[in-house]
């Protein structure tokens, strides 16, 4: 009940993000979602792509330091309070979130949230008990 995310180390220099996106584009890889964490000196690019293993391979060949991370994709209602509800459930279960980012679903009325947590199984259990749906890669791409 989790999806693979590709994380890439990038130095804070102009053109770095453009270069890494160009590598993915050249290999016909489309991005479903992305987020960037940045500091003064470097950034961490996190992307969801249909073929995470393939993306890792082409990025490695391009000389990037990158790795796969298992993250949770959660379906939320696209309305005020939709995301707050999910976070409240996690908070009550005493699960802390390392990072999160969200994007609109293809399905009207819904959005998706990507979450990194330390214990995926425990998190899925807490979400399922609260009737919150977690998505596999297939449904994340199509919905």
């Amino acid at each position: 009940m989790s999806v693979k995310q590709v994380s890439v180390f990038l130095e804070n220099k102009s053109g770095q993000l453009a270069d890494v996106c160009a590598v993915l584009a050249e290999n016909g890889m489309s991005l479903r979602a992305l987020s960037i964490a940045d500091t003064k000196e470097y950034g961490i690019l996190r992307v969801i792509v249909p073929d995470a293993d393939g993306a890792l391979e082409v990025l490695r060949r391009g000389g990037y330091t990158c790795k796969l991370t298992q993250v949770l994709a959660v379906e939320i209602d696209d309305r005020p309070g939709g995301m707050a509800y999910v976070l409240q459930v996690l908070s009550e279960a005493e699960i802390s979130v390392d990072y999160a980012y969200a994007f609109i679903s293809h399905k009207a009325g819904y959005a998706h949230m990507i979450l990194r947590v330390s214990d995926i199984d425990e998190t899925v259990k807490a979400l399922t008990e609260a009737d919150i749906r977690t998505l596999e890669m297939d449904s994340l791409l199509t919905e």
Binding site: E11, T39, C66, K67, T69
Partner: protein, 435 residues
Amino acid sequence: MERYYQPEIECAPIEKIKAWQNEKLASQVRHVWDNVAYYRNLMQEKGVTPDDIRSTDDLYKLPFLTKTDLRDAYPYALLAKPLSDCVRIQSTSGTTGKRVVAFYTQKDVDLWEECCARAIVAAGGTKDDVCQVCYGYGLFTGGPGLHGGSHKVGCLTLPMSSGNTERQIQFMLDLQSTILCCTPSYAVYIGETLREMGYSKEDIHLKAGIFGAEPWTQEMRRDIENTLGIRAYDIYGLTETSGPGVSFECSEQTGMHINEDHFLAEIIDPNTGEVLPEGSKGELVFTSLDKEAFPLLRYRTRDICVLSRKKCSCGRTHIKMSKPMGRSDDMMIIRGVNVFPSQIEAVLLKQGYTSNYQIVVDRVGSTDTFDVYVEVTEEQFADTVRELTLHEEQLAGAMKLMLGINPKVHLVQPKSIARSEGKAVRVVDKRKLHD
């Protein structure tokens, strides 16, 4: 079983080695006195004549030669044979100043290549091996030295020179090279490229590597050995004394046997010039014993190391030198503390990083800044800022523990640190610009 290229020399009893040295030293000094006015003047200034040098015990009476002497003597002032008797010139890179050129007669080339052949055989080389030489060919001694040694052993020699790493690997795969000769930093680079091309040590046939021409650590040795699936042997030499092969490692891998039938080694205090007893750490000084064209008496290498005559399990009797622990001239003084790049490298490798780093020292106001740029590896990469910051702090902490001063560690992308495919640029000292 240990094999030797010239067992009667390499395993000779110590008394025999001493007898050779005494005899050869006397005639080498005479040869220099008769033919090299530059050194004769130095001897006369000290009031020494060839008659004063009867055995190696008299060596201390001779004046030192330094790199500055070699530069001042450029190009011909230390030449001891007519140019018509010389067949080869090799040269230093000249990166630290004016070039130094060395001259060779055919006999000089033969003896040098024999020294390299001893190193290849000590690393397990035989006539059945395929020896890939990726030291630079040309004025640099690395390529020609190992190439000649490989021929003498009878290996199938691949004269690749350095660079074009993907082609190096293609040849390594197609022609099943068994011995690799290059700089240790290039061996690391070959390992990285091998992985990027989708291969591992299982796909290649290398069994040994002979690496030299720049400082490297035990950690780097283990790293190379694991990545390429080989045993990595150290080799030492310098253009001034002929090239690689002055000393080399045997199966024990605990230091390099100096070819004492050709080179006499001393350890001195770099500040006072005083000769130190065996086992002391100090500057290595070489005296050639049978060079024709470019003999050097008491040449100060500026390499800091230790000599040991402890019995070696390989059966060789020649004295061993430790891996140079730094150079009397690449030691940096940062905030009053002595720092050798090799110390930084040891910390990085111990913490699971590669040896791709650069130290940048500068001065802001009256304070030295000390920055270490480190290429982030997949093993050390984490996808949260918190973890990466922790890694930077851990590295800085380990370096502080080793050195006593705190560097600022910066993680950078792989291959973003400038490297030539020969020697890596480890230190950028910008303080000199302000002086």
